[in-house]
Symmetry: C2
Subunit: 303 residues, 2 copies
């Protein structure tokens, strides 16, 4: 018999908090977004509680039907202890988020990281649903990764999946992490915009650089090609280590479609010899992936 | 109540087949080694069967007490399907090893890869037993890796853990895998011996190079330092991706002790910024690690 309850799933981002109610068949039955408050963790937790209350009200769902709450936050998050060690986008350090949230709900609360939540969702409901072993890589302002192994997420105590900080060029540009030449300094949307700006002497977003690539702009092509080569290098390393079957590229840059996918595919083809040959595909679930993953995780714990 | 049965665990190597009987407390109660026959898979399976029979005879153990059989083989091995896709050391390709072995025993048979078996043993009984997330890296003729995540091995359909084929220097020496500048071409025992030979104009084994390093030989120091730097580079990448707590260095080269461990530790220290800081330790179980891991796996399936 299908569970009649609902799970509330919330994705706390640097600018917005997105919430959904998810039924036992993993469909979102209601959605609401609010801006992220700037007054620290407590204000965020209050806001999450209010958001869930509103979703329940709107759908005339009694609190007793709330079977669980899944919350995803950015940064280095330990699912086991429910701690957000570092969430730069929220200005958090060592926040015991799960227990704080648990005080605000009668239903059980699970905490996870936004990238892993999105990875879980793509793996169970989205672009990697045919694969046991997948790599879900959001390429946006930064670059992160969710590793799915035998259908399960790799957490590494909250430290796993930091693909953006694999060093590609030890003598490259300084990275915010303190190292040099990290993937993020070459292939993130922010890096592409910056590197184009420096060389072309003109401001452009990564999206505009992508358009310029399609239009034949020489500098844009150079910057774009360096980005996709760096991505292919790091993904080839990941495949060699993990044996991934599917690589899902998400985040803002994946909006470029084949302009991103094709050179990454070719770059992998050139680099791999005996290794597993992964499919490279675009993310399927869009901006709700984090919510859906937090909801899936809550359902896993509840049932 | 403790299980009264025994598990037979066999590690099939390129030159020798090692076998043990393992009790429910995971102790080896008998051991026997035989040379690996050269006449193909069937001869190897017959030899494994005979080896197990001898172990049972020697210990006056009735076949009815044999609760399971665990067999580890080298190469690309899919535990789920029980297939050895490629075992270069044995000259095997697409060998359905588990079902062949199952025909020879009444007890259930599990098949795995030798490196993962050793990794499981180090993780449950050896140098990584305190850690949920470990990386076990045998550095010998080649370089391989077993990834332990949340206490479980990552298989990647048999393709996971190929650390020796992570590219460190794209313009480096050709590798047997068809790529260039793989870790194995710089940091394996074979590579160290070869690189020293070329530069010093004198034949020496990796062990002799290590002795020459300790004795202050300039060329030996150069070759050794390139090897440990390359190892640190790849291990730093793995830690960034996996969040490993412990790195266990095994294989022949780990016999060098601190001569290997210290520069790898320093190299990691230099490369990591916000990432988890793994302990770097030497393997604890020696040459029986593969057998012990195959036995553990058999016990997991049996009980």
């Amino acid at each position: 018999m299908t569970h009649r309850g609902l799970v509330a799933a919330v994705d706390v981002g640097g600018t917005a908090i997105k919430g959904i109610l998810m039924d036992a068949s993993h469909s979102a039955v209601a959605r609401r977004d609010v801006p992220t408050p700037r007054q620290g963790p407590d204000a965020v937790f209050d806001c999450v509680q209010e958001l869930v209350d509103r979703l329940l009200d709107e759908t005339a769902t009694g609190t007793s039907r709330l079977a669980g709450v899944g919350v995803a936050v950015p940064g280095i998050v330990d699912d086991h202890t429910g701690t957000a060690h570092v969430s730069a986008n929220l200005g958090w350090r060592e926040v015991l988020a799960r227990s704080e949230l648990a005080n605000r709900f009668t239903a059980p609360v699970v905490l996870t990281q936004d990238v892993r939540a999105a990875g879980l969702a793509e793996s169970h409901l989205g672009a990697a649903r045919s694969a046991d072993d997948a790599l879900v890589v959001p390429v946006g302002t930064g670059i992160a990764g969710a590793l799915v192994v035998d259908g399960r997420l790799v957490t590494g105590g909250g430290y796993a999946g930091e693909l953006g900080h694999v060093v590609v060029d030890p003598s490259g540009e300084p990275c915010t992490c303190g190292s040099r030449g990290c993937l993020e300094t070459i292939a993130s949307a922010r890096a592409i915009a910056r590197r184009y700006g420096v060389r072309a002497g003109a401001d452009a977003s990564a999206r505009e650089v992508a358009a310029a690539v399609a239009g034949g702009d020489r500098v844009a092509r150079e910057v774009w090609s360096e980005a996709t080569e760096a991505l292919a290098t790091v993904l080839a390393t990941c495949v060699t280590v993990l044996g991934s079957e599917v690589i899902v590229l998400g985040g803002g840059l994946s909006g470029a479609g084949r302009l991103l996918l094709d050179p990454v595919r070719t770059g992998l083809e050139e680099r791999l010899t005996f290794q597993r040959r992964p499919q490279v595909v675009a993310a399927a679930l869009g901006e709700l992936a984090g919510c859906l993953g937090a909801g899936l995780l809550a359902w896993e714990q509840v049932v």
